[in-house]
Symmetry: C2
Subunit: 342 residues, 2 copies
DNA sequence: ATGAAAGCGCTAACAC
DNA sequence: GTGTTAGCGCTTTCAT
């Protein structure tokens, strides 16, 4: 808790009786020729002094920090937590350090985070945009900072973006249900303020075939207590649904809503899946641990995160590839929350 | 994706036809007297040029970055995710930016993270240590960087540390169960490689009173897929437990294990709570959404995180207070996973 | 009210 | 093989 020793490379060179330049050369072990005993002296001095390089100086000089800024809507949401984990793994493996920011599902905070990362002169940015708008995109492009988008698609398909085929995911969910004999299917959603949500719903409608679809949508989520609020949204949707109850199955916009809904059903004495079937979207870790275990459409965010990091770092290191928008394919994982009607 | 415009304060001053010094003064709107039209010209130039200050230069010069480094064992674990959320809120409110690192439950990575934060010259560090050892503590103290610990207690009670009364939490769990008439109670644990786990177990034993306690412990977790692996640990513990099954209730070392265990019980046809009672420890968001809803001992990590951030920032800003180790009190939250035996 | 200049800690030419 | 030096972008005395 004291003032800080502030040992600089200069102190090291002084103690080793040499110049700053030579000290720098051995401390960074660049291959530059230095006599063995000089080298030893410098290393010893650095060690004795407890020298820790000041990256601010280095980054200022070299123009690279080897840091990557990443902004996600929430660190609380398991979906993003897993993406962040993928990013971290890839960055660490490649010698970069990720710096995480949460935009709290708030576009202004998202912009503020991006501004911060630009000011800090990150080497690149990994951005999970909330809105479909363009302001943040323009900001990073104006700053000329390498950025790859992930999760939400961006309007310009030429921008590097690792996303999922959300439409297909929605389609798979409803198609699966119809293949199980369901003919009236509800869709539990949050507001359509994200492209991914719209796409999932559109896919859902497309996969209905002959079946009938019913949309139940909860009002805007409030920031902060996100996980809980999504659970609660699931509960509230159940209550609206129960007013008419004209469906035998529901697909939820994400697993959190699905789990909240299953819980609410069960509390109200309605058994899943025998009385009502539910399928989620995402396949977060908790989906396997719900009771009953949730049937869902898997969109592994860990893979998305590491893929995005890979693309960014490749581009940072001069590997030129045309990326543009890539949509990873979802896959269905059958568990115990759907009842066969045929 | 381009090279970057690199507009510096120098460019701004040139365009505004003034000196760097004056530009700096108005750009930071220090109260320094500057003529109104000069001010206007500088602001306009900055805007037209799209100037973004380079914090590296600023931090190098001033010696403060207004950044706080935080390291937690895992960003995936909801318990830490919530702590991180609390930290972020407090930091943002006070004008600091948190930089999150995950040590992946790995002491070496923990040290590496701390080294990184020191090299980056963070203003302070918030550290959730894994091991009870001293190496990391010595490292930060040698670097002279303000750090406050949280979650795990540290040996030196004079160090600022925001933790929980883990012993009391364990005690409350078993005492609650005995008050419900349980006389044989199992404890499902991970390895005792953290003080918090040892303390919870000791508390558990202390709260048993006349009752009998049985310890079931899973081998070391592997890093990475943490959430899933804790669920699985819960499942495996159930299998060991079922070999003897000489208890009517179990308390789990954390909610994740508890939820995994409840699931495994249910899959094996054993009903919670009628056949077996389970109580968790932590009260993560998901605890309310398990089926049945989990009775648990609440140790709100959000509060712990924001408290830790507050203490750090206070000390950074010269508010001198004796803190030392503070242990926040746990509280019991009754839900539906315990059966009354009286 | 404004500007010149000295660094913060570091790297990378460029000498020798 | 080693040292000198010129900045990287910024703040901040100290003059004027």
């Amino acid at each position: 808790m004291k003032k800080g020793n502030r040992i600089t490379i200069r102190d090291v060179s002084l103690m080793a009786n040499t110049s700053i330049a030579t000290a720098s050369r051995v401390l960074n072990n660049t291959g530059y020729p230095v006599s063995p005993d000089m080298k030893a002296r410098i290393l010893k001095a650095a060690k004795d002094l407890g020298y820790t390089p000041n990256m601010l100086g280095k980054a200022l000089k070299t123009g690279k920090s080897h840091e990557i800024g990443v902004v996600v809507p929430s660190l609380l949401n398991p979906y993003y937590a897993e993406a962040v984990n993928g990013i971290e793994r890839e960055c660490n493996a490649r010698g970069y350090t990720p710096v995480f920011c949460s935009s709290d599902n708030n576009p202004e905070k998202e912009l503020a985070n991006v501004e911060f990362l630009i000011r800090m002169r990150m080497d690149g940015i990994l951005l999970s945009k909330i809105e479909y708008g363009d302001d943040v995109i323009q900001r990073v492009s104006r700053a000329g900072i390498s950025t790859v988008y992930f999760d939400q698609p961006v309007a310009d398909e030429n921008l590097p973006c690792i996303t999922y085929d959300f439409f297909e995911a929605g389609r798979m969910a409803s198609e699966y249900l119809t293949s199980r004999g369901h003919r009236r299917i509800a869709f539990f959603s949050l507001p359509f303020d994200r492209q991914s949500r719209r796409s999932r719903y559109e896919g859902f409608m497309a996969g209905l075939g002959e079946a009938e679809g019913y949309l139940y949508q909860s009002p805007a989520e409030n920031e902060g207590v996100e996980v809980l609020s999504e659970f609660q949204a699931g509960e509230r949707l159940v209550d609206s649904f129960l007013k008419d109850r004209n469906a035998t199955a529901v697909v939820a916009i994400n697993d959190l809503i699905a789990i909240g809904a299953m819980n609410a059903f069960s509390k109200r004495g309605i058994a899943v899946p025998s009385d009502i079937s539910v399928v989620g979207l995402d396949d977060i870790s908790f989906a396997a641990m719900s009771n009953p275990a949730l049937t869902t459409v898997k969109q592994p965010s860990y893979e998305m995160g590491s893929a995005a990091a890979k693309v960014l770092i490749d581009s940072l290191e001069g590997v030129e590839e045309e990326v543009g928008t890539v949509r990873m394919p979802p896959s269905l994982v059958e568990r115990d929350s759907v009842c066969d009607l045929v």
